[in-house]
Amino acid sequence: MNSLQVTKVNIQILFFGATADITGRRRIEIAIPSETTASEVSKILIAEYPSLATHKLHISLNEQYAAGQEIVRHGDELAIFTAVSGG
């Protein structure tokens, strides 16, 4: 039976600026199926916080820009944010 169970992994999600305002959070921990990609995580977050979809979003994985197809592993830190505006 165990073979049919979906393995879950826990990851940290960070929000900044506009995405922190939308979600009302700066950091959350979520459990996702193993083998989930970074862009799938972003879809899960948009389902939870639909206003995120009104922005062009960027994702980082463990403090590096992510292209989207990266597999997110247990303990990873993923951040989701709008286009940067420093300077």
């Binding site: 900044f16 922190a20 922005h55 951040a79 944010f81 940067v84 505006s85 420093g86 300077g87």
Partner: protein
């Protein structure tokens, strides 16, 4: 020799520009970016900003700044780069970012400094909120400046 920092304290331009003056160098080019009172909106209206707030994904921002410096040193004949970015609340006219580039020949320093600020605005995870008398707005992506 290079440095890259985030700080909530006011930035003194000289302390960045003159922190290192290598003996083989003759020129340091510095960009001092600061909060503008008036900005043009997309609709052509001019909006008056009361103050700014900057927020960063700090560890990633420092990594991206370090990468930029490494890339600049590959591309341009420069000796060192210093970048300091302010975070938190900034009053109008206060410096938000200083980028200084020292090089033996000034041409490379100008080119590298201009490249660094363009890339910083594109890649370093820092966000600016403009606060107006009647609202506020997180800026997304670079405005011209």
């Amino acid at each position: 020799m290079n440095f890259f920092e985030l700080t909530t304290d006011p930035i003194d331009v000289t302390s960045v520009a003159r922190r290192l003056v290598p003996p083989e160098c003759g020129a340091t080019v510095t960009l001092d970016g600061y909060a503008r009172r008036f900005t043009k909106q997309k609709d052509g209206q001019t909006r008056k900003t009361e103050y700014l707030e900057y927020e960063a994904y700090e560890p990633m921002a420092l990594k991206e700044m370090e990468k930029l410096i490494a890339a600049a040193k590959q591309q341009f004949e420069i000796s060192w780069v210093g970048i300091v970015h302010r975070l938190g609340r900034l009053e109008i006219g206060e410096t938000s970012v200083v980028i200084s580039v020292a090089s033996p020949h000034r041409r490379a320093a100008f080119a590298a400094c201009e490249w660094l600020i363009r890339e910083l605005k594109r890649t370093v995870p820092i966000w600016k909120k403009e606060v107006y008398a009647d609202g506020e707005h997180w800026v997304e992506g670079e405005k011209e400046s």
